[in-house]
Symmetry: C2
DNA sequence: ATAAATGCAAAACTTTTGCACCCGA
DNA sequence: TCGGGTGCAAAAGTTTTGCATTTAT
């Protein structure tokens, strides 16, 4: 629920570590974990450290070069309502809200038709800025 | 990537701990973390252990009583393709695949209209059984 | 030169688990 | 009674971080 402070991003340097990490990620479709990336990169840079991999993954994600598949935080959140519904996560205050639009079951049919998989359900999270945070920003810069 | 073994679920007992945990989850819309639930339940059962909270959250999730908001695993996965696209996660083999259907931007409009939030993007994961796993199951039980 | 990036290791966090004891059905 | 559930504490697993050193620009 912490508010992110926005400081100017420093100019990025091109390092071998970062280049290889990106190259590993670009050359697989397996949606790997940080640890898998680490193992792969080690074959090219044996003494790279796991910390460097984590730092660069976060950086590359912030630079829009790669996508991180997670629910925003490192821990799970729980919802007392087990009925299928969508969620909205505010990037500024971190709160998660229920979304009040119907679940698009037709997307599941489209996936079935396209790939043949058995689709049981789907989950969608929207990301953006909630009304409270929008208002706060207006107050700061009118 | 591990395959889940399916053993018969034992008959569940109704314990005070489980009842209070569910009650806490049902009476909030804040999509709390396990730790927050723990703190709340402690106000009613001061000597409950965090392990019990985790065990029951997992149990309640498996019983379909609550929803867990996470990407399936406790760690992040990364995708070298930063372009918006959907994912499919096989519940049996754990692999994650790219989904080849167009992103439903119109859902974002619907959320905007309904709630007024500024929506930047959304992410959708489908869950089910992939073709490899479907075939393996057929071989076992023809 | 100088600020960003790295390697290493320790630390921080979240989640799981082994085990003896407890308790609900 | 009896097997599921709990408390406690240790362990596991993932991610972050402090610091001295290296390196890209």
């Amino acid at each position: 629920m912490e508010v992110k402070s926005q400081k100017k991003t420093p100019r990025r340097r091109s390092t071998r570590q970062r280049r290889v990490i990106l190259q590993v990620l670009r050359s697989t479709k397996s949606h790997p974990t940080a640890d898998w990336v680490y193992e792969q990169v080690r074959q090219e840079i044996p003494n790279i450290s796991l910390g460097t991999v984590y730092r660069n993954l976060k950086l590359l994600r912030d630079m829009g070069e790669v996508m991180e598949l997670s629910f925003g935080s490192t821990y799970s959140r729980f919802d007392g309502n087990p009925e299928p519904h969508y969620h909205f996560s505010c990037k500024d205050c971190g709160r998660v809200f229920d979304v009040d639009i119907p679940v698009a079951k037709e997307l599941e049919d489209a996936v079935r038709r396209q790939h043949g998989w058995e689709v049981l359900y789907h989950r969608t999270e929207f990301y953006g800025c909630c009304n409270d945070c929008k208002q706060q920003q207006e107050e700061k810069q009118p």
